[in-house]
């Protein structure tokens, strides 16, 4: 009995750790029935690009449906501004998150910006920090995600 409980606890802990440390695998687990998979890249400073990438995400979800489309927006370089907590598109990001869109923030860019600003920029609560934006994109494309750079 005690041994069974210990096994259950260990399995639960393993599952919890897996969820925390393997964002790559989360993509398939998040949308298990998704037939269409898109990774959208934003790496530009241009505010029009911010609007465009959010529009593209919204259009994909609208066309295929939130359950049939798996969309992740990866922001790195100057494009990371989209995921700043104060960004004026926060409301749209909130809405897209509720439709299942994920937002990944490049850790390398954050480190560089921290160095420049003297403090780490606060990020949108819906963003997940990944070690590298390009690496994240590579991982997703290896899993069959279509890369789109609006």
């Amino acid at each position: 009995m005690k041994k069974r409980v210990r096994v259950y606890l260990l399995c639960g802990l393993a599952a919890l750790l897996a969820a925390l440390v393997t964002p790559a695998s989360m993509a398939q687990e998040e949308k298990p029935f998704a037939e269409q998979k898109f990774v959208l890249q934003i790496s530009d400073m241009d505010p029009d690009k911010q609007t465009l990438v959010l529009n593209v995400a919204s259009n994909i979800i609208k066309y295929y449906g939130p359950d049939k489309a798996d969309v992740e927006i990866v922001a790195f370089g100057p494009g990371l501004r989209l995921l700043f907590a104060e960004n004026s598109n926060a409301g749209r990001i909130d809405g897209l998150t509720q439709s299942g869109v994920r937002f990944a923030a490049c850790g390398n860019t954050i480190a560089k910006m921290t160095q420049t600003l003297g403090n780490e920029p606060p990020l949108n609560e819906h963003s997940t920090v990944v070690p590298g934006g390009i690496v994240r994109i590579k991982d997703l494309t290896d899993q069959g995600f279509l890369l789109v750079k609006p």
Binding site: P47, R81, L82, E86, S88
Partner: protein, 452 residues
């Protein structure tokens, strides 16, 4: 006593806490936010923009019975003909965030190169109309510093390139668009033949352009699902577009709005029902006495107003009432603010130094859905030197049509039915000898806005 003060301080603290907690990014900007702040995290470091307005105006006023014309019967800003083409505004500006990674500091620059009251007199090639920085670090209390539009009347505060008419209302043009007295007393300029023998503009400086150099505290708050409150308090030199002050007095400005948002439109065309009120107070130093001495005095200048603006589903309606006390400007050819016995004597009837004035307007417009056409109509009244023997009542009805080639380029046609009457004088007598012949005006204006 100590208990009462503590309670007051506690109440103020709680109020500030509630307001601060309720504040958040406004859904869409109002004039305070549109001019001088940038969308957080999504603004360009540098965005170059500008606009051009090219117009033609023809005035149908009669000359004075004794001959000659006064400025209300001529085309501004040169006051030398009754019909003219003009590039009345040509502005280029840059705005953005000082540093892309830090949206908290914004800047706004604008340069005027058109031919209008800003660059005339003096024939300036260009004049800086805006040079400001905004610091958005304190929630509920943004700080804007530099040269920029002070918070005030709707026609003055709103962006001129989206203004729906060619000319301001009488009250805005005369009571709010400030002219600054010359350093020394300057006599009135008599009515002039065409072409004028001397310039009918007796002022040395250009108009204030609804701007001042100073510091403003402001912000906008969302309240509930669809209400937005905004406030602004500013202290400035009270010297218009001049970078320095000409006296030690300062001008104070207060402004507040409450707007019910309807959810449609954006930026200047955001749909809502807005209630607004404003107040400004200051002193002007002027030598208005005709005594061959340089003996300037300080004169109070107070202005205030309330209004409401509605915009929804293509319909627009605005109403505003404005009042002024002190430094009531008469006309470009009366640079020391006096007419009749008031000329050179601030204490005599006909002098604007201590006078009052008031004005109001109602206007409306409808943009036909699915088309590029809009109809506009406005009625405005201005009572200058209210209660004075030389009081003049100005009235105007403006009918307008606008055609939008695209959202940034439009052509406007205005026809104004104008009249002026010195209410205490019979027809043709006293000031009526000059203003009695003020008549209608036709205007056509093309506006082109461009932005990176």
């Amino acid at each position: 006593m100590r208990t009462k003060l503590s309670k007051k301080l506690l109440l103020i603290s709680i109020t500030w806490l509630v307001v601060t907690l309720a504040s958040g990014p406004a859904n869409a900007a109002n004039w305070l936010m549109l001019q001088g702040t940038e969308p957080a995290g999504s603004a360009d470091p540098v965005r170059v923009w500008g606009f051009v307005q090219v117009q033609y105006q023809k005035d149908y006023s009669d000359p004075n019975p004794a001959g000659g014309y006064i400025p209300p019967k001529l085309i501004q800003p040169n006051w030398d003909s009754q019909s003219a083409f003009n590039v009345n505004r040509a502005r280029i500006g840059a705005r953005g965030v000082a540093m892309p990674l830090d949206s908290k500091i914004n800047y706004f620059l604008l340069l005027e190169m058109g031919n209008n009251g800003i660059t005339e007199p003096g024939g300036s090639f260009a004049k800086m109309t805006d040079a400001s920085m905004t610091f958005n670090h304190l929630k509920g209390a943004r700080i804007r510093a530099g040269l920029f539009k002070y918070p005030g009347s709707e026609e003055g505060l709103q962006a001129i390139h989206v203004f729906d008419y060619i000319n301001f209302t009488w009250a805005t043009a005369q009571m709010m668009l400030e002219r600054f007295p010359n350093r020394d007393y300057s006599p009135n300029i008599p009515a002039q033949p065409l072409p004028p023998e001397v310039s009918l503009n007796g002022f040395d400086d250009g108009v204030g352009a609804f701007r001042d150099v100073g510091v403003q505290l402001f912000d906008t708050f969302k309240v509930g699902e669809s209400w937005e409150l905004a406030y602004a308090g500013m202290i400035g030199n009270g010297n218009g577009l001049n970078f320095s002050d000409n006296n030690s007095n300062k001008n104070y400005y207060l402004y507040a709005t409450a707007e019910k948002l309807f959810g449609g439109g954006r930026g200047p065309r955001r749909e809502g029902l807005k209630f607004f009120a404003w107040y400004q107070d200051g002193k002007r130093t002027a030598d208005l006495t005709n005594d061959d001495l340089h003996n300037p005095e300080d004169y109070d200048r107070e202005r205030y107003g309330v209004g409401v603006k509605f915009l929804r589903n293509g319909w627009r309606a605005t109403a505003e009432y404005m009042k002024g006390k002190g430094m009531i400007w008469q006309a470009p050819h009366n640079p020391s603010f006096g007419i009749g016995p008031g000329q050179g004597n601030p204490n005599a009837p006909g002098n604007g130094a201590f006078a009052k004035a008031n004005g109001w307007y109602v206007e409306g417009g409808y943009r036909f859905a699915g088309t590029k056409w809009e109809l506009d109509a406005r009625y405005d009244v201005y009572n200058r030197l209210d209660g004075d023997r030389f009081e003049i009542k100005f009235k105007r009805t403006t009918l307008g049509v606008q055609y939008f080639f695209n959202p940034r380029v439009r052509i406007a046609f205005n026809y104004e039915f104008r009249s002026a009457d010195a209410v205490n004088f019979p027809s043709g007598a006293g000031p009526n000898a000059q203003v009695g012949g003020i008549d209608n005006r036709l205007g056509v204006q093309i506006t082109g806005i461009w932005s990176q």
